[in-house]
């Protein structure tokens, strides 16, 4: 049984902040396929298309038949711990600061052995369930979990290094005027966040759900307008040092493409919220989070971008909004690069049509704000970096992965998307 982690005390401002260090970052290019899947929470290994042999570590050719056709395939999660060690001394500074550290050899049900991080609740010789996640360096790693859920399982020291669990952490939701922002606040509070700051622009202007929002445990409503640099900077100077998870729920969505719109006023509003909004937030909150990536139980750990799946490929029916979302999506990659070294993960949650006023005329299936909030909190608890929410987004991503150019053709047909 894992001991529950305690809520951290208020930080002594005199105390030095522990600087982030990283587990080993360097990987072969081939191994990045494993990291890509791990960022989505998928456990894949290379499998030979010709002889079906499963192989690991990542190879260029099949060691059974020398075929070059090795493909990353989802693997059965089961396995058995056949040898273990607790590392007490390490040459790497990150691990040195975190020893003792448990690793072991797992005989996978997939038929091969792997070296993996080992959860503290796994018994000697016990059955395990494998997960693949990105670690603080942003690279994929394997961890063995107990086959059955154990008490306080998520609080395991090694597992928590891979996740962005909101428990005992402080989150900032950037727009609480919307149903989505309110659903997100509720979900984070329920997940054990110690404080949920919820930004509201023009606080004097009433909005639906205001009272219910304020009544959610641990929620603090604060003034924030992502289109106003002064507002963003003022808030950062106030709470910038205690934002561990930032979830940007602000969005500006209008139907319509480019040709049939009159002028660029609406497009400018879209960019103000959807692109310059995150840019302002990154400049104001990014440096503080980057500095606090190893700051104990409530270290900064995640930046969440909520983006329409049409950020990946433009849907002309919402063509101009899609373009602003594409800009934000592109910026998220820049942010991931700039967060490298800090251990702070960037989670992109791509969702299909949301059940809300500005998408009222779109047909189902739609994503409810509650469903999206639940999925995002789940992804934080799991430590994911890539998430799609809703049947439309799942399908869209599948098609995008198959061939982004074919998808682009489809989207530009009259019955596209």
């Amino acid at each position: 049984m894992t001991e529950a982690i305690k809520r951290p005390r208020r930080k002594d401002p005199q105390k030095r902040t522990v600087l982030p260090t990283l587990p080993p970052t360097s990987r072969s290019r081939r191994a990045l396929g494993f990291s890509v899947a791990a960022a989505e929470g998928r456990f894949v290994l290379q499998k030979c298309d010709d002889c079906e042999a499963v192989t690991y570590p990542p190879r260029e050719a099949c060691p059974k038949c020398l075929s070059m056709n090795l493909e990353w395939r989802d693997m059965p999660e089961g396995g058995k711990l056949i040898a273990e060690t607790t590392i007490q001394t390490s040459t790497n500074v990150y691990f040195r600061e975190r020893t003792p550290w448990r690793v072991g050899t797992i005989a996978l049900d997939a038929g091969i052995p792997v070296l993996a991080h080992i959860h503290g609740d796994i018994a000697e010789g016990g059955r395990v369930r494998m997960i693949a996640r990105t670690d603080k360096s942003g690279q994929g790693v394997l961890m063995a979990l107990p086959e059955q859920e154990t008490e306080n399982m998520a609080d395991d020291k090694q597992l928590r290094e891979l996740t962005c669990d909101p428990k005992h952490r402080r989150a900032l939701i950037t727009d609480g005027r919307t149903q989505l922002g309110q659903a997100m606040a509720k979900a984070l509070s329920a997940a054990g966040a110690s404080t949920v700051f919820v930004g509201v622009a023009e606080t004097w202007r009433p909005f639906a759900g205001a009272d219910a929002l304020a009544a959610i445990p641990n929620v603090e409503v604060i003034a924030l307008d992502v289109t106003d640099t002064v507002s963003v900077n003022e808030l950062a100077s106030e709470i910038g040092g205690k934002v561990d998870i930032l979830i940007n729920t602000a969005e500006y969505v209008r139907a319509g493409g480019a040709m049939d719109r009159d002028g660029i006023v609406t497009a400018r509003d879209e960019m103000e919220v959807n692109y310059f909004g995150p840019l302002r937030l990154i400049q104001a909150f990014g440096p503080g989070m980057r500095f606090r990536g190893a700051d104990g139980v409530n270290s900064a750990c995640a930046w969440v971008n909520l983006l329409s799946v049409y950020a990946l490929s433009n849907w002309p029916a919402y063509g101009s909004t899609s373009a602003s979302q594409a800009a934000a999506y592109s910026l998220s990659q820049c942010l991931r690069g700039e967060f490298h070294g800090s251990g702070v993960k960037v989670l992109n949650a791509l969702f299909g049509p949301l059940e809300e006023d500005w998408r009222q005329h779109l047909p189902p299936p739609k994503v409810t704000p509650e469903g999206l909030a639940k999925a995002v909190v789940g992804a934080l608890q799991q430590g994911l970096e890539e998430l799609t929410v809703g049947a439309v987004a799942d399908d869209f991503l599948t098609r995008w992965k198959q061939d982004p150019r074919v998808l682009a053709r489809e989207l530009t047909q009259p019955e596209g998307a």
């Binding site: 570590p57 590392i87 070296l115």
Partner: protein
């Protein structure tokens, strides 16, 4: 695969190894690998009474020569060999260098081969070497705690103990006996006696491995010459015949965790070619970066049955004066691990023992020795294994 035909490997007739050289190790040294190799080569030449120009074959093993290889060393050291080899096999380097050089001399491709291994040890070189040791280590073992070989051997040891019933005391007995052997060996870095109690209560490194299960990385060099029997006679050098050798890489790839090395695949041929049995061996030098792997070598070379290594250890005195002299200079566990030179240490020591020129305590009447090598934890197991049976002048 068809069964190997009855063709018997050619014996190493007329070839000998001679002039065992050890350059005293240092825990840390600012000198580069080139310096250590040059010193060993110089000692070889002086001790043999030859000139550098007489060396027409050169074989090098080193982890820290980068960006050079054996090629760059020829110009650096002023050699003009007609046969050149670079053996990057870590703990199997000594045995493999010997068998390659022996064939070169036997076939006339070279007359006088200098086999040299040497490595630097700067303050940070161990960490750097681990992080870029191999692609598989980089992708799939170093990111898991960065425990290096300590963690790899801890997993092997944990598994071996669970499946065979070996106890820490059994591994301790190997380490304690080697320390005893090291006390008389002038170049050993560890010169304090070691008790079983100290072994058992030592600081844990990577459970079940503790401090005295691990070698100390250091700088140093080892070397020997391979030449014809006649050449050795002319130079009046005590010479050692090569009775048999084996080499194997990536043996038993489907074992989920390493429980044996390549020796098990080749040991029948090894003993048949040598024309001797395990009982005829006066001393054994195993590759001992951790005691568990020495125990596996006892088993896989046929000194005892699989899984009975611990019992074998319990039944023997492993010191130079004992019933089964093993790692007679103290091995890497007590002398230190000078990188690839660790793969030469046992061989060079065996050459001294069977020629009656031990620097430490001489094993009485030692004539026949077996040396085995093991190397390169590429990911989760050592890939290279090899062994050589050697006979001194009196054998």
């Amino acid at each position: 695969m068809t069964k190997r035909d009855a063709r018997v490997r050619q014996a190493y007739d007329g070839v000998v190894a001679a002039v065992p050289i050890t350059i005293p190790y240092q825990r840390y040294s600012p000198e580069p690998a080139h310096w250590w190799i040059a010193r060993a080569l110089g000692e070889l030449v002086r001790t043999a009474g030859i000139t550098p120009q007489d060396i027409d074959g050169f074989c090098v093993s080193s982890f820290t020569l980068f960006p050079d290889t054996a090629v760059g060393l020829t110009q650096h050291l002023g050699l003009t060999p007609r046969w050149l080899d670079h053996i990057p096999m870590g703990g199997a380097s000594g045995v493999v260098s010997l068998r390659r050089a022996a064939r070169a001399v036997q076939c006339g491709d070279a007359e006088m081969v200098a086999c040299v291994s040497g490595d630097a040890n700067h303050v940070d070189s161990f960490r750097r070497m681990l992080s870029s040791f191999s692609r598989f280590a980089q992708d799939a073992s170093y990111p898991y705690g960065s425990g290096g070989p300590n963690a790899s051997f801890a997993l092997m040891t944990d598994h071996y103990m669970k499946t065979t019933g070996a106890m820490r005391e059994d591994f301790g007995k190997i380490c304690v006996a080697q320390r005893d052997n090291a006390l008389s060996f002038p170049h050993a870095l560890m010169k304090k006696p070691l008790s079983l109690e100290q072994y058992i209560s030592a600081r844990p490194i990577s459970d079940p491995i503790a401090l005295f299960d691990c070698v100390m990385p250091c700088a140093g060099a080892e070397a020997f010459l391979v030449m014809s029997e006649d050449a050795a006679k002319n130079l009046d050098l005590p010479a050692v015949r090569v009775l048999s050798t084996i080499e194997r890489h990536n043996a038993f790839p489907d074992d989920p965790i390493q429980i044996r090395g390549g020796w098990e695949m080749d040991r029948d041929e090894f003993w048949a070619m040598a024309g001797i049995a395990p009982d005829d061996v006066d001393l054994l030098e195993t590759y001992d970066d951790y005691p568990v792997i020495s125990m596996m070598q006892f088993e896989d070379l046929g000194f005892c049955k699989k899984g009975e290594g611990a019992e074998f250890v319990r039944g023997h005195d492993l010191t130079n004066g004992g019933s089964f002299p093993h790692n007679t200079s103290g091995g890497q566990l007590s002398v230190g691990q000078a990188g690839a030179a660790g793969g030469y240490l046992g061989l060079v020591e065996a050459l001294r023992q069977v020629t009656g020129t031990a620097l430490g305590r001489q094993v009485e009447g030692a004539k026949t020795a077996v040396v085995s090598g093991f190397g390169m934890i590429n990911y989760d197991r050592g890939l290279c294994s090899g062994a050589a049976a050697l006979a001194g002048p009196g054998a």
